[in-house]
Symmetry: C2
Subunit: 465 residues, 2 copies
Amino acid sequence: MTRRDEAQAFSELRAALGPAGFLAGDDIPSRNHADSSVLPSQRPLAVLRPASTDEVSAALAIISRHGLAVTTQGGLTGLCGGATPVAGSLALSLERLVGVEEIDGRAMTLTARAGTPLEVMQRAAEAEGFLFPVDFGARGTATAGGIVATNAGGNRVLRYGMTRASVLGLEAVLTDGTVIISTSKMLKNNAGPDLKQLFVGSEGLFGVVTRVVFALQPLPRWTGLALIATRDFEAAADILASARADLGPMLSAFEVMWPDYWTMVTENVPGCRDPFADRHGLYLLIEGHGRDAARDGAAFEAFLEGIYEAGLVDDAMLAQSLTDMEAFWAIRDASAEIEPILGEHESFDVGLPPGEVGRFVEACRAALARELPTSQAVFFGHAADGNIHVMASVPEPGPAGHHAVESVVYGVTRNFSGSVSAEHGIGALKRGWLGHSRSPAEIALMRHLKTTLDPHGLLNPDKVI
Amino acid sequence: MTRRDEAQAFSELRAALGPAGFLAGDDIPSRNHADSSVLPSQRPLAVLRPASTDEVSAALAIISRHGLAVTTQGGLTGLCGGATPVAGSLALSLERLVGVEEIDGRAMTLTARAGTPLEVMQRAAEAEGFLFPVDFGARGTATAGGIVATNAGGNRVLRYGMTRASVLGLEAVLTDGTVIISTSKMLKNNAGPDLKQLFVGSEGLFGVVTRVVFALQPLPRWTGLALIATRDFEAAADILASARADLGPMLSAFEVMWPDYWTMVTENVPGCRDPFADRHGLYLLIEGHGRDAARDGAAFEAFLEGIYEAGLVDDAMLAQSLTDMEAFWAIRDASAEIEPILGEHESFDVGLPPGEVGRFVEACRAALARELPTSQAVFFGHAADGNIHVMASVPEPGPAGHHAVESVVYGVTRNFSGSVSAEHGIGALKRGWLGHSRSPAEIALMRHLKTTLDPHGLLNPDKVI
């Protein structure tokens, strides 16, 4: 593309989107240079900020006609570089396409434009007496379109599933500007292949999500929280089986922390003191959500008594107040606080068959000790989901050190038929490791779909595959 | 294709599949001529019965090379003609690819080959202390591959979702014989686009499902069931809102029957007597699944007291025994028994935004009375799912009569932005009505995907799109 073609494309985009919708040159905000990953920031050619689905459609049609590449941006909270612009691409930010359009109490749905922040949707739902089922730390900035495009996980996956499970309908724009409107409020719709699934979790490879219909849930009225010390992961697995059987769908979180993580947090992070007198083999945080404090509280206590009588509990604390609950969760949520202690490190988000979690952690720890003895690693995660986070310091600063740690952890992940990305996606940073979790036939099919839906590779080039 | 080419293809297929795997001529069983729909039966050119994924792959590679068409068959319980062979096609039956391969208690997964009957999977899960989440009437013959390919609904959608929600992984064979192995046991796997979604609910357009990993659930330990008479659908919607708020995930069924259905069943079907002394405006069957008889039974009774005190209940019966439960469910399940009373009729499976169900039924009844005054119609369904079944007698026997009834009911469905198929799929019988529920852009994208994945249109030709 010559400068003259680019100037023509820019002129058309400016005309289609207006001055607030097209920012070039010195007007490009630095926030559009990068997402929240460690990928180096990159100034886009220009920032497109369409304020309607029609403007998204018009912009993509122009982009497509001129063969320009575009990187889609939501709240820029991604950790894998999926929304950091590729050199020479435009940024397409949904930040002006905002607002909760409707809450339908009978259908229990919330319809929002793509750029609406997660927390705005959560509050809007709560004001009408409903729970928005997706939640995670970046709720203030992550957006409706972003959580759908990445199939975000978070704190409530055990209870409500990944974001995909709550998407009833969506609207998306294809690379040529075609608008696919599948904004159904229906729970059941088997009229042909379910096209919306194509856009959920595809990190913008196939189209740009512009509007989403989410399923809401009833607000829980009671919460129970217990911190359990037990001997090892086998015991934890037995406790999980009891929790599922006794609590059923009340079980809303089952988090696990290994002693390396527990000790580093409770010895270093202000406000995270160890509530137990002794050291233990493994620590669990178990949460129940219910509808009636007396009945569900009794069920929760009966479950705890059951695992105690079965000899599975070394020590236990049941939260007696909101303060207790915050203190318990603070230990689990302190991973960001220990980053300075680890120094330069790599954070992993590994998915595993749930039965393999304990053995994976042992194997991973052993492999790191053997191959990178100077690396310090801590292990914690969502045990019931088979989702383990590993934070491991790099043996030497710089790319080679990161690659060395990745090789070890992802190598063990592959041996356990695990996923190199349970919930964070692939983006740019994990592209090189996709083959550790997907077969050549799967990757070929992904590429085939990409070529079909975006033949010139203009949407999010150099991401995922 | 000449006879000689066909003979060559048959010879290769016979060699690849063995004598038990290739049935031609007089050996073709009549059962492979049709599924359970009203579509006229059609003898396939031959029946392929591969006994392994490798044999499915080999067969499809041969079929593809020779440009033969093939109709995939599971348990043949479909109601829309999706598995009745197209004239001139082979039938590919998964009936020999059977067996539960593994139940992983830690991961709570069941892995089965495509031809395994649903009931076999249910029993295998129960023997290990788990619930198989999908259930419907044809459980004895419907298969693992069939419920996945059609994204089957059924009795427990309100609680556990459609079949898609329980598919953790699958293996499928593409038209050229490529095997896509995505048989993960992971609950969370965001390593690239989720390819398995492409095969769930696509009625075999894109590939043949050969193996599935299903998520299991804890077995419920307590069931409560109530029959409620109320005045109208507005009151029913208020009762549903209370049920969701008070029972939360305990709520496992919320079925609605209009007086036309209720009267026809209780006055005509043996064993289905009306338990109420008076006639009422609407009848509900509400079920709860719990873990503790005392606690959850008390919660269920508290919910019933609440809706009674709110003035929403005209009369109510709480099941006191298994016999009561069977009697209550018998009324809801008697739709097959009233077929002789209606005479020649059409059965509909309409999906609606849940808030529109009451108005849809009124509008549909009025439209039928106005346009086809001799047609008799009854209404019932899964109210919480927005899934209504309509059975309407045809004004005159034969295709014109069926088309007349379909025009009225699907016309009203389109006006309510509903789905012409909530759970039964499109198959061959509803192809002409797909445009009532999907936009031209959606149908074009379905066709584009079909051309990409099956360029010569050999898999299930003349189905769905």
